[in-house]
């Protein structure tokens, strides 16, 4: 008996997550730190959109835990946020796929802003709220970078036949 669905190239997904985590902590000049896009969230959104059967809430949760360790934040803070992103994206994946790139970018803006909102709530509850409006800049830079991320990851997916 052959299996109907054959998964392929899972390592490419994990390598892209690893790259996203490295980009998350790569040192930047001080002024640029606040504009750092949410790499992990963007890569997660892409895979949830392209392969919703493969990358879902569980993957998002483990990626989020790793992100928590990377950022040194409260364990579960980003896990919760990324889980929500993954859920929303996989709900919308069919619609997202037919959107033009700029419209996708707007959705990414919303999703990343949602992630940050959740993180902000948690930070507010434990008493360390960021005091600057620049806190929201990553959502904007993520939106601006989305078309490139999308094209790069699409090429990766096609090249390594990730399915």
């Amino acid at each position: 008996m052959t299996r109907l669905i054959h998964h392929n190239g899972g390592w490419a997904i994990w390598v892209s997550f690893g790259a996203a985590l490295v980009l998350t902590m790569l040192p930047l000049p001080h002024w640029a730190e606040l504009y750092r896009p949410e790499w992990a969230a963007m890569v997660l959104i892409y895979w949830c959109m392209a392969l919703p059967a493969r990358v879902g809430v569980a993957t998002a949760w483990s990626l989020g835990l790793l992100l928590d360790v990377v950022r040194g934040s409260l364990l579960g803070q980003y896990a919760l946020a990324l889980t929500l992103i993954a859920w929303v994206t996989s709900q919308l994946h069919q619609r997202l796929r037919v959107y033009p790139l700029w419209q996708q970018a707007l959705v990414v803006l919303m999703l990343v802003a949602m992630e940050q909102m959740l993180v902000l709530w948690v930070k507010g509850i434990i008493g360390e709220p960021p005091e600057s409006w620049l806190y929201w800049m990553p959502a904007l830079t993520s939106m601006l970078l989305w078309p490139w991320i999308f094209l790069v990851l699409r090429d990766v997916r096609r090249k390594f036949r990730v399915s």
């Binding site: 998350t24 902590m25 040192p27 730190e33 790793l66 990377v70 040194g72 948690v122 360390e128």
Partner: protein
């Protein structure tokens, strides 16, 4: 999340996950390390000679100071014996290096290349050549995360070196600013006073410099004076730090 915030049960899980993450962290550190290596190996001969000369002079000065220090230390020990007070805790030190890795931009935390395998423990004080830098908050096998004294959730018990007035210095999240709250308007505090660790709270060794008082605003309508201070340690530029073992070895295990 609540469990992690209120208690420390999840520290083991965090440490386990850190082992997965630390190769990535070292990877992210690579470009900075390469640049450092390149600047070291491409340095000109004359510059190295110059540097060597200044370092030698500095060492001579420090050694001269140290001679006096030895005499003072033995004198101190003798006086303490006379007064029957306990001797000072012996301190062990280790040099750690910061990894060029960015953590949360809204906190003041840094990543060190020493971890539990080197004996680093949570709450361990961190110094540099000029003063207290912060303390370790998470440890894993190969790396550890430290919070600087400027982090908004950090507080350190201090006293004014001149008159022994005790206070607490809070981090503000700003790069070089500490706040000293709850000092009455009529207290004897002046700009330029040195704050040293008081050793209360048993976390930091007593007597290390923390900050200079930068500004004292005495507002008579407010209950307390508004005092800001500037850390003596070079928090934003330093690469090497000193990890201090305050407790005895058995206790740290």
């Amino acid at each position: 999340m609540t469990v992690d915030h209120r208690q420390n049960h999840l520290e083991a899980i965090r440490a386990g996950l850190s082992v997965v993450v630390s190769p990535l962290q070292y990877l992210a550190n690579l470009p900075a390390q390469a640049a450092n290596w390149a600047s070291e190996s491409l340095a000109t001969h004359t510059r190295l000679v110059d540097e060597n000369r200044t370092l030698k002079q500095k060492q001579l000065l420090l050694e001269a100071k140290l001679q006096k220090f030895d005499a003072l230390e033995s004198e101190n020990a003798r006086l303490r014996e006379l007064m029957h007070s306990p001797k000072k805790v012996a301190e062990r030190m280790l040099i750690g290096e910061l990894l060029a890795v960015d953590l949360d931009p809204f906190k003041r935390t840094v990543l060190l290349n020493k971890g539990r395998r080197d004996g680093v423990y949570e709450g361990q004080p961190l110094l540099d050549a000029r003063g207290v830098m912060g303390q370790v908050i998470h440890t894993s096998s190969w790396t550890s995360t430290a919070m600087l004294i400027t982090d908004p959730s950090h507080a350190i018990p201090v006293q004014i070196n001149r008159n022994g007035l005790r206070a607490i210095a809070l981090g503000t999240g700003g790069a070089d600013v500490l706040e000293v709250p709850h000092i009455p308007n009529n207290a004897d505090v002046h700009e330029g006073d040195l704050l040293v660790t008081s050793g209360l709270g048993q976390r930091f060794p007593p007597g290390y410099p923390v900050a200079w008082i930068k500004r004292v605003e005495k507002d008579l309508s407010a209950p307390y004076a508004r005092i800001t201070a500037e850390p003596t340690a070079d928090l934003e530029k330093i690469r090497e730090v000193l990890l201090v073992w305050l407790r005895s070895e058995e206790e740290a295990q």
